[in-house]
Structure formats: C-alpha cells, structure tokens
Subunit: 401 residues, 4 copies
C-alpha cells in the first residue's frame, strides 16, 4: 500500500496551485458579474500560458495533442483546478469538452479526429453533448425520443434536447438519437452523431435559466430543437447502436474528473470556512472558532473530505489498473458519496459565514446553488444507490430487476 502523491505530479501540483491562485482566481468575480463572453479573451490568454507550461488538455493522450497524464495523475491536478470555477476551463479539460475529447479519441475515425478532436484539444473550438431530453428521465438513457433516420448517405435527426451544456457558441454537438428502434435490446437502439451546430435545423431555443441564471457561452445549459437536421453518414461516431455503450464509456473517467473537481470546491470552501471562523468575532476576542458547534463542522468536513478523496483516488487507480468495468461499483459509489459530501461542506461553509455566505461576495453562494446539480446529473443519487445495491445483492443470489 502506498498513499503518496505520485512522484510524477508531486512537483507539478504546487505550480498549478500557484498559477490558479495568482492568475485564475482574480478573474472569477468578473466572470460572475459580466458573463463568459466578456472574459473569454482573458481566458484565451491564460490558456496560452498553460500551453506554454505543457499542461493544456492534461487528460488527453500526447498522440492527440494533450499533456498525457494518467488518470491518477490527472485526478490530483483536477482537484487543484476545481478550487476555481474557471480552473478546468483554463486548462482545457472542462466538461463537456473533456468527455467529448475522450469519446473522439476512443471511437473517432482518423478523419473525425482530424476534423473534430484536434481543434478541440488545441482549444480553438468548443463542443456540446446532446443526450438529455425534457420528456424522458435521465435515469433511463435507453429511452429516448430523438430519432436519426437513415436517408441515403445521410442521417436526418429530429428531436428535443435540453441541458445541452455549453451549446451556446459551440461549433459542434455530439447528439444521441435512436437509429435502430427495432433493436431487441433497448441499449442497442441509439447512436451518437457529430453535428456541426450550423447545420440547418439545429436550433438553440434558449439558455435555460438555472438557479436564477441563464448564463452564456460555455457557462450555459441550452434547450435545443433538432428539426430535419441532415448530417452525412460518416458523422456517425463509433458504429450504429453504439450510442449507449459510448455514453457509458464517457462516464467512467468523467466521474473521476467531476469528483476531483468537487473535492477542489470542498477544499476551497473548507479554507474559506476556517479563515472565517478564526477571524469573525462574536464578541471582542472571542472568534466563532471557539464555538463547539462550529468545531464540529470543521471536524466532520475534514473527515468526510478525506474519506471522499481516498475513495476517488482508489477508483482512479483501479480504473487504471483493471479497467472501468472492474471498477463499476466504485464508480457508482463515488458519484453519490462525493456529491453529498460536497453539498454538506458547502452548506456548513455558508452557515459559518452567516449573512455573508448568502451574498456573492464569496464564491460559496454560487457553488451552493449550482453544485446542487451534482446530486442530479450523470445519474441521480438514487439511481446509483439502487444500481450499486442490486449489483451487490446479485452476488448474494438476489434476482432483483
């Protein structure tokens, strides 16, 4: 057993942390107040600095133009980046592009990689992933209403999507659509298609107001209508009927990315909480830190964050060593476990800040409202708990559908 930080990233982490604090954090307030498009030029400039550090697209293999970190190595970096809303973006490993890069690296044809992956890895364009539908539950990705009908050398897509994050300004979308409705297994009915967003019939209805903010650009979640959207058959990603399988593949390492990012948020919130309680006085000379109820928040948060972190790193290690299939239980577990730790730590940090915690004078309020989604996207808590339990119980002989 060895719980050390891998030597390969040990010296890197303080450097990333310093860059993040000195160069990225100062942009946060502008980003929050003025929106994505206003700060995009500055973000682009920062990316050039990261490129010079050799760390742009850190999770992508070197052959595809990335920095080529292993999953465990990237996990450590992702935790540091997660401290800022902008960290992953500046390093070009932000959702949904990060997952799309992985998909294209895994399943793209050479020409698809040339056309779609390379500009993405270089940070020249953005992309989106159109799977979720307003009328169908995210917990059942095998049940979609969007269709892609074969018509000669093309597919014609019709459907209604939402929570297509970052569609606003993206150059292409990966769209999940039913191509084989007659396939016996519901998991073999959908395919993924590469759809340039300027294709006629692809229309962003709105950026959905989420927790009071419609956002813009990368920081938005679109409702999308696809009406007779025609793409050449060569835009099919990874084979007909492979949509569901690929979506699952996308989730494995993506889970590690999200969880480590959440732990970065936790680390930031924890620090803010500690700083607050040692400096805020209840009466002269008597800081909040003297209050045992507050001490309990500190202790519980520390324990839960440590626990969560070890579980995610162990899962990353296991995926690396034995593959995502062998780590299925662990991948489910960290999803719900870490998301709940995140919510509790944020809740305590806000409470420790009192009225200030409700304001946008700290990043806590934004984390609190937007990261509430962590317990919902990529499978709600309940979905993961039930599926984990059923897999375990099946080993005891349960026949649980």
């Amino acid at each position: 057993m060895d719980f050390s930080v891998p030597a390969s990233v040990e010296s890197l982490l303080p450097e990333v942390r310093r860059f993040l604090e000195e160069r990225v954090l100062p942009l946060e307030r502008d980003f929050a107040a003025r929106g994505f498009f206003e700060v995009e030029p500055q973000l682009r400039a920062l990316r050039e600095e990261v490129r010079a550090m050799g760390l742009l697209a850190p999770h992508v293999q070197k052959e595809h133009g990335g920095a080529g970190l292993s999953l465990v190595e990237f996990a450590h970096v992702a935790e540091v980046l997660g401290r800022s809303t902008l960290g992953h973006y500046v390093f070009n490993c932000q959702a949904p592009d990060a997952g799309n890069m992985e998909l294209l690296a895994l399943a793209g044809t050479p020409s698809q990689q040339e056309r779609f992956l390379k500009p993405l890895v270089r940070g020249e364009v953005r992309s989106c992933f159109a799977m979720t539908e307003p009328d169908r539950p995210g917990s059942n990705p095998a049940w979609l209403s969007t269709t892609a009908r074969r018509d000669g050398d093309a597919f014609v897509i019709d459907g209604h999507k939402w929570f297509t994050s970052s569609a606003d300004g993206a150059s292409f979308a990966i769209v999940m659509a039913v191509t084989n409705p007659e396939a016996e297994s519901p998991y073999a009915r959908a395919s993924q298609l590469l759809v340039p967003t300027d294709t006629p019939g692809f229309r962003i209805v709105r950026n959905i107001p989420v927790m009071g903010e419609a956002g813009q650009g990368w920081a938005s979640h679109a409702e999308v209508r696809l009406t007779g959207v025609r793409v050449p058959a060569e835009n099919l990603l990874g084979g007909e009927g492979m949509g569901f399988v690929l979506a699952q593949e996308r989730l494995g390492p993506g889970r590690i990315h999200h969880c480590m990012r959440w732990l970065g948020i936790c680390a930031r919130a924890f620090e803010l909480m500690c700083q607050r309680v040692v400096s805020r006085e209840l009466s002269p000379g008597k800081p909040l830190a003297t209050r045992q109820m507050v001490q309990e928040w500190i202790a519980d948060s520390r324990a839960e964050m440590d626990a969560a972190r070890l579980m995610v790193l162990r899962t990353a290690w296991l995926i690396e060593k034995e593959g995502a299939a062998a780590a299925r239980d662990e991948i489910s577990t960290i999803k719900f476990y870490v998301a709940n730790v995140l919510q509790r730590v944020l809740d305590r940090a806000i409470q420790a800040h009192g009225a200030l915690g409700m304001t946008d004078d700290t990043p806590l309020a934004a984390f609190f409202r937007h990261e509430r989604a962590a317990r919902i996207y990529d499978g709600a808590d309940e979905v993961h708990k039930a599926s984990l339990a059923r897999r375990i119980l099946a080993r005891y002989g349960a026949k649980v559908s």
Copy 2:
C-alpha cells in the same frame, strides 16, 4: 385540547387560497423575470382587491387600520399566503414592513403612528429595518458599531449597515444605533430611530447580490451608509436604550409570520413534488412514485411538516394566551426547527424534479437558494439552539454563560 382551525378563519382560508392561486400565482413568473418595479403596478391593483376583501394588513389591529386577526388566526392565513413569494406582499403583511407596523403600533407615539404607521398600513409606502452590520455578528445585537449622538434636539447617526432588506424605494428606515455606550448593561445601549430615507447622509451603497441576484425594490437587501444623518429627537422610537428590547419584541410574532410562511412554501413544494412523481415516468407506465426512495421523501416530508406546523401553531397560541415571554423556549425552537424542515423539503422536491428542479421553470430553485437564509437571519440555528439549551439547563442548576 382542540386542534381545529379556529372557526373565525375556517371559511376565510379557502377564499384566500383561491385568490392566491387565481390572482397572485400568475404574477410570479413576471416578478422573477422582470423584477419588482415592473410588476409593482399589478401588485398595487391586487392590493386593492385585498382591501375590498377587508384583509389588507391582516395582522394589524383594527384601530390602526388593519384587519385585526389574532396571532393564531393570522398564522393560518400566513401559511396560505406563504405558498407564493408574493402572497404576503399582496396582503401587506410582508417583512420587513409587517414587523415595523407591529413596532410602531406597540411603541410609537400618536404622532409617529400618524406619520409613519398609517401610510404603511394603508400600503402607500414601504419601510426597512436597519440593524445588521457587516462587521458585527448578528448573533450579538448588543454589540453594534453604529452610533446616534445626541446633538441638541436631534440625533446624529453614523454607521454602516447591510442586509437592510427592502431599503431600495423605502420611505423610511428604523435604525438601530448605540445612544448610550456607557450604559452598564450591553442590552441598554442601543435605541431605535425613525429615519426618512431622504435624510441627507442616508445612502444606499448597493443592493447586495444575494445568491446571484441583486434584486430591486421590496425584493432586495441593501448595504447602507449613514454619515452624519440628523433626525429630530422626536424620531426616537420607544425610549432611549430600548432598542434591544424592542428588537426582541419585534421578533416574537415575526417568528410566527416567518415560520408559517415557510410552511406555506413547504406545502407548495410538497404538492409540486407529489404532482411530479405521479406524472414523471421512468419507463412507460412506471412513474417515479413507485420508487420507495421517493416514497420515503413523501413520508418524511409529510411527518416533518405536520410536526413543524403543530409547533408553530402551539407557539402562536401560547403567545396569545400567556405572552411572548412565557413562550421564549418555543419561539427559539420553531426558528431552527422549521427552517431546517423547510430546507429538507425543498431539497427533496428538487431531487424529485431532477434537472427540471434546477431550472427556474418551477419556483423550487428560487425557494432553494433564497430560503437558505432562513437558517441564518433572525438568529442562526446555532444561536437559538445554544440559547434554548442554556435556558433549559439553567433550570437544572447549570451556571452556563
């Protein structure tokens, strides 16, 4: 024992409910999207309808122009109104005006009542309450930095306040300031002063961005600077050094108002959750409602809401019967208990809505982010828990500071 709704309001409640649903709810979306000032004319029109129903300022005594409901009666009405963000406003019993009306009715001189209370009760003006300070903890209202120095026939106020809710557009503020710094008891140092907001030196620095929204008008929380603000001595409310005592008086029935409003929010969220889970299908013919984890949310929410409701009504009854002093324990208890029920019910309702719960397509997301403050304002959970416990333990002989 009798747990029935008082006969005096039994027939009233369905009427209020119907008015709320037919006339008030349709305004919510506009209010959320376009802001307070845009919908103010419509709100004013609705208030005329409420006036015609004889229910404007329901909690204010008839002699002062209100509808004269008892505290228990008003509690029932407040629960119904709480279902909408706009309910209390339309009935002119919204915070902070409701509390200010009570203060003025209780402690105002006839001329103060003529000048400040009457227009407030008639709904012609708005007011605010400037107590909280950015540099001092809300948990220690005896420790204020704002001062009001006697200067001849006037007081000159200097200080810095924030979370002065609804200051934007208010015609006057009630300002807590230290007038007697040398008083032995820290609880006898502050006074309350009636300050027209057009007094020179009274300046709104900004509407504080709270959970992503700075808001406007009634729906805002201001940071305020008072610099050499001069008001005549007759603007003193209730005697020098009485500031803290009056602030406490203000909290008693105010606690009932808040708690019943929160329970109205719970009721609305619970209904939305139930409607959602019976209609949202996980697969054809299999609604969310069939999932036991969801059923547990329904059952736990029902139980907690019932419990909370009974505690608040009992407290209202006790205040009515024996006065707020006799109900001190209960008043502390409902504050933290109900606020936590509110947070849990909202959290479950959002989870039941999945991605939709994160959007502003339902009122849940706004409730979730803004009502997080319920555990903070008017005394954070921890303050009430500690003070309740110390009072109880004192009866067992504890000498606990």
Copy 3:
C-alpha cells in the same frame, strides 16, 4: 385551537407522577436485577394502591370495569407512566394486555367478556397476542402459515409463532390463524381465536433471548408451537375472516399508547441527560453543560420531543373526534416519527453519560437496547413510510401498488 391539558386530567397528572416516582421507580432496579417473578408480589400490592386511586385499567370503559379515560386523557397519563418500565404494568394498561382488553371490549361476546375480559381488567390474569410468525414478514399480516381448521364445534389450530410477548405465565392467548384460506381477499382469510394456554398442544418453546435477556413472565417474548390445539367454536373472536380487520383496530389506539409511553421514556432520558451534564465536570468548575455540542443535543431533543408529542396528541384527538379511519395517515406517521425520536434521544442521553451510560447503573442502557424494537414492531418504519406515501400519492392520482 386549544393546546391545554384537558381539565379532566390536569390535576391527576401530578398525582400519577408522584406515585410513579415514589412508589414505582424504587422497584426498577430489583426488577432489572432479579426478574419479573421476584417482584410480582410487590407489583400486585402497588396495583391495589392504584385500584384505590380509581385508576386501574385507565383506558378501559367504566362499564367494563376500567377508569374510563378518553383517548386524549389516557394519552397524558400514559406519558407519565412511560417514565418507568413498570408504569403501565402497575396501572394495568401494559401491552399486550391493554390491546387485548380493547379487542375484547370491542368484539367480544358477553360470555367472552365475562370469562376473558373481566379478570384481565381486574388484573387477576395476564394474556398474550400470538400473531407474528418466524417465517413470515410482520409487514404482511395477511400472509400467515398458522391455520385453524374447523372440526365440528371446534377449531383445531396448528402453527408456529414467536414474539408472543408475555406468553410466559399468561392464562390465555389471542391467536391469529387462517380459517378461510380460499377467501378471495387475503385480508379476509384469518380469524382470531381465544386460546387458554393450558389447552393441550399449546407449547412455549422458549423465551427468546432478546438483546441478551430472555426475561420472564410479563417481561418476555415467547416462541410458541401450536400442535392440534382444539378450542370450541365459541372462542372465535369477532367473526370468521375478521382477524386482519380486528388486528388493525387493535393497532389504532395501541399506537397512541406506545407513542406516549415512548415520550415518557424520552422525558426521563432527557431529565437524566440534563442532570448529568450540569453535574459532571470536565475540569474543576466546568461542567459538560458548557459544551456546545452537548447543548445541541439538549436543544434538538427538546424540539423533537415537543414535535412528536404534539403529533401524537393531535392524532389521539382526531381518533376521538372522527374515528381511527379518518386518522390513518396520522397513525402511520406517529409510529415511525416518534420511534426515531426515541432512538435519537436515548442515544444522546447515553453519550452524555459517557461510560456510565453503558452501564445498568442508569435505566438508559436498558431503554437503548430494548426500545430499538420500537422501529420494528407493529410495522417497521419502512412499512409505515411506504404506506403513508402511497395513500398520499393516490390522492394525486398515482396508481402505486
């Protein structure tokens, strides 16, 4: 609304409390150390005192020889009695006899009442209720393996029961058995039969060791085998196929009894906790009571106990006013809600006592281990939560089996 203690019992309660503390509590340690049979003579003597107070079998109608308290009145008395493990026994309203008295009063023929009810109410005999079976879930009382076959003028019963509480030394059992296996509704298959325990074939296999104690007499839970047990047909209680309906009837007021008893336990544990924390010093002059984490236990316990108590009293009032059917939701709710409050309060009280809390030098350890069953018997938490939720959701149109 009126939350006062009913005038009819207001003066009674201090008297009952004093009797309990002065006469009953001193017996507890002997009962715990030496067992039921050793202290039975003293318990019998105390019952004579209670009889003289006119309070024996307080919940039973006067026409049947009881004290004739209403459900709400009895609820208040039951709470006081619950402070001691022996309280209900001394007043002859202990489970399972209390429920059996209610059943016999409700559904017994005059001759059954003469033979079985009267001696029970007078406290001359004890009884038991044999429903639960080791091989069948308690959550599905319609699914029993015990049968009662009609044979001429008699029924012949065969089956296997356990958790037949107090069978050891009981003079008769009420046995649930399937008499009509062919009935269409599973709820119409079982009947209840009065079975004297000296009937051939009725055999107590063992007093089941529960949490380390097999117990004895009233304080025991038996495993029972019924082999060809023959009772005359006139021993049928309330009609063939009525077993399930009667069992449900038995649960309604029984729920109130249990819940108020649990609240009595809570009250005792709370007092012990308060006394402990004000007297136990962490260092000279610094009692446990100064610790905020401890204060939080006090505050949370107080809040939860108040909430639970109001819910139970409201339910009792509703049953009295509109019948048990109208209070079905409330009856489910209090079962799981109060049982969980009980467990939390006991857990905190033990923690506050440290090592002493683990010992039998206080009653807390016995309450902790034995009352763990509160979340299991008469329907586990999960059963009540699911059934409450399904009833609520059915009103929203859900078709939830």
Copy 4:
C-alpha cells in the same frame, strides 16, 4: 499510489478467514450463552493452533515473541479477526492485553519485560489497564484522583477505578496514578505502575453490568478499589510523570486495532444483511432485496465502510512511515468516523432483520448494544472532533483553548 493489499499478507488473509469461520465462529454461541470461563479451555486450544500457524500475538515484534507484522499488515489481519467477538482473543491480540504488550515492549525494563511481557505474549496470563475513574471524565486523563505515594523503595496506591476491562482473572494491572501532584503541567503528574492483582489492597468491587451483562473473565469490565496497594518502585513503568505520555502512545496503534476490528464487525453485519434481504420474502417471490429503502441501506453501508476502511489503512500507513505524531489528525478522525459508521451499519443490519435482529439468534444484537461503547471509550466523539478542529484551526491562526 498503490491501494493493493500488501503482498506479505495477501495469501495469509484467506487462511485466517477460513480458520476464523471454521474454528472460531462455532464457539460464539457457547461463549454468549455460557460465558468466558466455560469456553476458556477451547479458546486455549485454538490458540495452540494459531501458535502453530506462527500467528500468535501478530502485532508484537518477533524479538518479544510475537509474529512481527507491520502495522499495515496487522490492520488487514485485524479486520478479518474482527468478524468474530473471539477473533482477536484467539490470536492473542485482544484489548486490553494488546495495548499492554505494546506498552511493555516500548517502555518496559528488561526485567519488567521478562516478568510481565513474555507470559502475556505467550498467552499464559491476562492483564488489565486501570485508568478510567468513575468520578473523573475520561476526556481529561490529566485529572485523576488515584494517587501513588512514594514510600521508601515502594509506591503506595490509593484510588477508585472502573471500566478496568478484563480485570476479572487478570494477573496484573497497569495502573495510572498521580505521583507528582505538584508538577506544573497537568500532563506530567501521573505515572503508570505494574500491579500484580494479588497485591493486598487491590480489590475488584464488581464486574459492572454493561448493557444487561456483567460478563466474566476477559469479557468483563471491573470496578476496582485500590487501598494502600504497595508495589516496589521498580514496578514503575517508563519513568515518573510519564503516565500520560505513555497512555497516549498506547492509543495510536490501538486506534488502528480498534478501527479495523470495527470494520470486521461491519463486514460481518453487512454480509448478514445481504443474506437476509435476498432470502426473506415479503410475499411469495418478492424478497426484501427488491425494496429500494433496503437497497439504500446496502449502498450507503458499502460506501461508508469503504470510506472508513481507506481512512484507517491510510492512517496505519502514515504512522508506519512518519510516526504517530505526524498522523495525529488522522488518528483522531478515524476514531469518531469509523465508530459512527459501525453504529449505522449495525442499525441497518438489525432493521433488515426485523424482529430477528432483536434476538440473540444472530450476533447483531450483541454487537449493537456492546459496540455502542465505540463512540465513548478512548475519547468520545466530541472530544476527538473538538481536538481535531482546534488543531486545524490553530494552523489558521486561531487561539482556541
């Protein structure tokens, strides 16, 4: 990073597991029903088998006669042994002897080791550790009332101890007593003394009834009076005034032992829960395992156990690598974190068993009641949380006493 089981014990663990299940588990019921002394001969025989496996006293260095496992290696073995109440005893690494062996190995003089340590490691005698006092809080081990007065070449001890586990039948006690009351630091006042239990004045008052059981022999917790107990000065362990420091030393690895034992209990309870829910039918063909509320218990338990396990192993690794002082935060954290996971997992396992869970027909009920102490001994949750938080906050500059 490497999360693998160390190669050095990988092959050992299945062997230990098999031995435990085949040889040790069958003894449990007898032990529970008939007591320690009755099964002692069989336990002694099993120890001979373990000795033959070369695994007796696995945690003790080879030079002192143990198996010489490293802390991380032993942690893995301890988890397996923890599955049975008797596991650690059979391998001669049970509390309190295990800690006493460590103390003697660390601080004993050669002649102390010869006389006290060797027979202990060989399993020929038992010992106890007399620190806790009924009148002083365990959270303040610097505040003791027991004294050891120097009298020529001897110490004369007077005091009152309790929870001196396993004193019944022990051949010697290590007694904490104040030798230097005038020392400036309260942490330098106490010493540890080796006291043969047959020394005049050493008296076991009683085996304290704990959760209904006084127990006997190794499985008991004694109240002890020391009256003029005279031991030669050479029985001083580790220097005058070193008592507190040594007690702390004893806790570090002891924490790992306890936590891994608790995780063994969790593993056993989890297995029993899984086996139960797949086999117990709610209705024909519909096992408990189909219920989502039950699935949530499985998923939450799995997650929490994994989290706890990683934290303990990481702590063991850190102690091994950098010493206990460097791992102080982690040692505090695992104490409260794992103890609470243990309690929750046991609670769920019992709930899943229904009435059966309350009986002694499974080991769950005994685990539930006796392991409640895990949150109390060796520092209650609250003590560890507060001290962890204060250490963390001190790094942020807090001056928190």
